[in-house]
Amino acid sequence: MKGFRLLWLLALILTACAQPATPAPTSPPSPTPAPASPTPPLSTPTPAPKVPGVTADTIRLGMICALSGPVSTIGKPLARGMEAYFRWINDQGGVHGRKIQLIVEDDQYNPANTVAAAKKLVEQDEVFAIVRPLGTATTAAILDYTIEKGVPVVGVASGSSLWSRPFKKTVFGIQPTYELEGRLMAKYAVEELKAKRIAVFYQNDAFGKEGAESFVAALKARGMEPVAMVPYETAERDFSAHALKLQQANPDLVFVYAIQVPAASLLKEAQKIGFRPKWLMTYVLADPILLTLAGDAAEGVYAGAWLVDPENAPEAAKYREVLAKYFPDEKPGGYSISSYAVAEIIVEALKRAGPDLTREKFIAALESLKNFTTGLTPPFSYSETEHQGIKQIAIVQVQKGRWVPVSGFFGE
C-alpha cells in the first residue's frame, strides 16, 4: 500500500514537472461560462466580463484542508486562523466594500478528495481563488487543474519546491521551501550550535528528502559529512531502533525532518535510552502539539520558524485578540498564525488590486509586494517571475515547556 502511494506520488511529481515551464496564461481564463449565473448578460449592451467569485458585495474564496482524519490537528487551526482574520476584516467593512466569504472543504489529506474538492470549489461554488491548501501530495494533485482553469492558488501550506519551480503564473508559495530551510539549518547547526558530528533523521518521502538532502549538501559544502542518515517510513510507529541507531553514531546534533508523531516518538525513545544530543528540527514541528506529544523529552529542542512567536510576540498581539474573539477555544499556535498571516497578505493584495477586481489584477497585486510584511513574517517579495515567498527563518527553542525565540530571522 505504501509502495503504491509512493509510486503514485512519483507519478504526480513527474506530471507536475513534465508540464511546460511557463504555462502562464497571460490573457487568462476565459471566464467559465456560468449557466447558473443570476445576471443574464444578454440584456446589457456591453457586459463587463464576469469574474468568478466576485460580486458587488462579496469575494468568494475556497480553502481545502483536512478537517477530519489524522491531519485534522493541522487542518483545523489552519482553517480557523484564516477564517478569523476574514471575519475580522468583514466586521471592519470588508475590502472595497466587498465581504470575504471563505468556503472550506475537507479533503482528509487524501489527494483524491482534494481533486473533488477543487472541482466543487471551482465549478460549483465558482471561487475567485483557492487559498492555503494543505499538504504536498494533496496540492500537487490539483495543481494542473487550477492552472488550466486559471484559478489562483495562494499561500500553499507546504514548503515543497513544486509551487515555485518551475514558475507558475497562478501559483504562489509562501513558507520557506524545505530545500531552503535545509541550507539555513545547516548554516545554523555549524556556525551557531558549533556541531561537529551531525546525524540526520528524516521521513523517507518527497518532504523529508527535500529537507534532508539539501541539509546534507550544505554540510558537504562546508567540508562535513553526516555521521548517520536514519530515514523512516511514513507508516512506522516504533522508533526504538531509530533512536538506538542514532545513538550508536554518537552525534552531537541530530537534524530532524519529520512530522509530529515520529519526531515526538523519537524524542521519547531517546530519553528512555539516555541519548541527549542537540536536536534541530524543521519549522513544520515548531508548534505546541510537539510539546503535548513529547512532554519533557522535548526540552531544549531547537526548531525553525518563519513566523513570529504566536504566543508571546508583541507583533502577534492583534492575531491573538482576533483569534480569541472568533474562536475562543482555539489556542494561539504555529498553524493558525500561519494561515492568519496568509489571510493578511491576501487582503493586502485585494486592496491593492482595486475595486474592479479581476484575477489578473489580483496576481499583479501579489507580484507588487516588495519587502512586504504585516509584522508576523520576515519581509518577503514576489515578482513577475518568482512566486516563492519567504526566504528567511528564525530559530526557536523549547525552554521550560514553551517555544522561545533564540535568534532573529536570517537568510542565506
Binding site: 490537528t73 507508516a235 512506522e236 531502533a241 531509530h242 538506538l244 541507531k245 516518538s265 539516555g274
Partner: protein, 292 residues
C-alpha cells in the same frame, strides 16, 4: 555486542505486543474459523475506553481492568450478535470475515465521532532510566511489555490445558459438531474465545498506546504485524503466535539496525513470505484438515 543486545531487547519488546495481538487472532481463528479483521479496531476502542476512564480520574489498575473487560465484552458481543446470527443462517466463514471487516470500519468511524482524530498521549505503565544487566541495557518499558506478554501467554496456555472450560474450548476448536453432541455449549464457548481474544488485543493496545499515541488509526500497524506474527507462527498454534511475534520484532530491529531503517518493515515481511513459501503452514502450524 552491546548494540546487538539492545536491538534484540527492543525487538523482543515490540514482538511481545505483536505476539499478544497474534494470540487473540489465533484463539479466535481456531475457535470459530474466522480471521477477525476487527481485532485492531476493537483493541483501539478498548484503549480509548481506558483513556476515558483515566481522564475521569479512575485509578490506573481499575481503569485498565475496566478497559480490558470492556474489550472482552465487546468480543463476546460481536460473536454472540452478528456473527452467531449469520452462522445460524449458514453463512460461510468468508461471509463472517467480511462481517468483521465491516465492523472494523464501523468501529473506526465511531471512534472518530466519539473521540475525534486528535492525537492523544497515553500514560506509560512504567518509566525511569534504563536498566543495566551486565552488557545489556534494556528500558523499563521493554522489560515490562516482554514480561506481560510472556505471563499472559503462559496463563492462556495453563487455562486451556488445565481447566474444564479450556478443555471444552479445545474440543470446540477440534470439532464443533462432536463437541455439541457431547453436551458442550458451543455458542457460549465461542463467545468466551472471542472475549479472551479481544481482551488480549485490548491489553496489547493499552501497552502500545504510550509508544504510538492514540487516535482511531494508531493501532493499524500493530494489527498488521499481529496478523503477520500469527501467520508466521502458523495461524493455528498459540505458542507459534507468541514466537512469531518475537521473531518478527527481532527481525525488524536487526534489519533497522544493521541494514537500513527504511527497510525495517518491508524486509521483515519479505522474510515472512519466504518462510511461508517453504512452510505454507507456518513455523509451528499444522494444516487444518477440511471438516466434512
Amino acid at each position: 555486542m552491546e548494540a546487538l543486545i539492545r536491538y534484540l531487547a527492543g525487538g523482543l519488546s515490540a514482538g511481545a505486543l505483536y505476539g499478544l495481538m497474534a494470540l487473540g487472532l489465533v484463539l479466535i481463528y481456531r475457535a470459530s474459523e474466522v480471521v477477525n479483521f476487527g481485532h485492531g479496531d476493537m483493541a483501539m476502542i478498548s484503549t480509548f475506553v481506558a483513556y476515558t476512564l483515566l481522564r475521569a480520574r479512575w485509578p490506573l489498575p481499575i481503569a485498565l481492568l475496566g478497559a480490558v473487560l470492556f474489550g472482552a465484552f465487546l468480543g463476546a458481543l460481536v460473536e454472540g450478535g452478528p456473527l452467531r446470527l449469520a452462522r445460524h443462517r449458514r453463512a460461510s466463514p468468508l461471509t463472517l470475515v467480511v462481517i468483521t471487516l465491516g465492523l472494523a470500519l464501523v468501529l473506526n468511524g465511531l471512534a472518530g465521532l466519539l473521540w475525534g482524530h486528535e492525537i492523544r498521549t497515553f500514560p506509560a505503565m512504567v518509566s525511569g532510566p534504563p536498566l543495566r544487566l551486565g552488557p545489556a541495557v534494556i528500558t523499563r518499558e521493554q522489560l515490562f511489555n516482554l514480561t506481560v506478554g510472556l505471563l499472559l501467554a503462559l496463563a492462556l496456555y495453563a487455562f486451556l490445558r488445565l481447566t474444564r472450560i479450556g478443555l471444552a474450548l479445545r474440543a470446540v476448536t477440534q470439532n464443533p459438531e462432536v463437541a455439541r453432541l457431547m453436551g458442550i455449549p458451543v455458542d457460549r464457548i465461542l463467545s468466551l474465545a472471542w472475549g479472551i481474544g479481544v481482551g488480549l488485543g485490548a491489553i496489547a493496545g493499552i501497552l502500545a498506546a504510550p509508544l504510538v499515541y492514540l487516535e482511531p488509526n494508531a493501532l493499524l500497524p500493530l494489527l498488521i504485524k499481529g496478523f503477520a506474527a500469527a501467520v508466521l507462527g502458523g495461524m493455528t498454534s498459540l505458542p507459534g503466535a507468541v514466537i512469531g511475534g518475537w521473531l518478527l520484532g527481532i527481525l525488524e530491529n536487526l534489519v533497522a539496525g544493521y541494514i537500513a531503517t527504511e527497510l525495517k518493515t518491508p524486509f521483515a515481511f519479505a522474510l515472512i513470505v519466504a518462510v511461508l513459501v517453504v512452510r505454507p503452514a507456518g513455523l509451528l502450524g499444522r494444516p487444518i484438515a477440511r471438516r466434512v
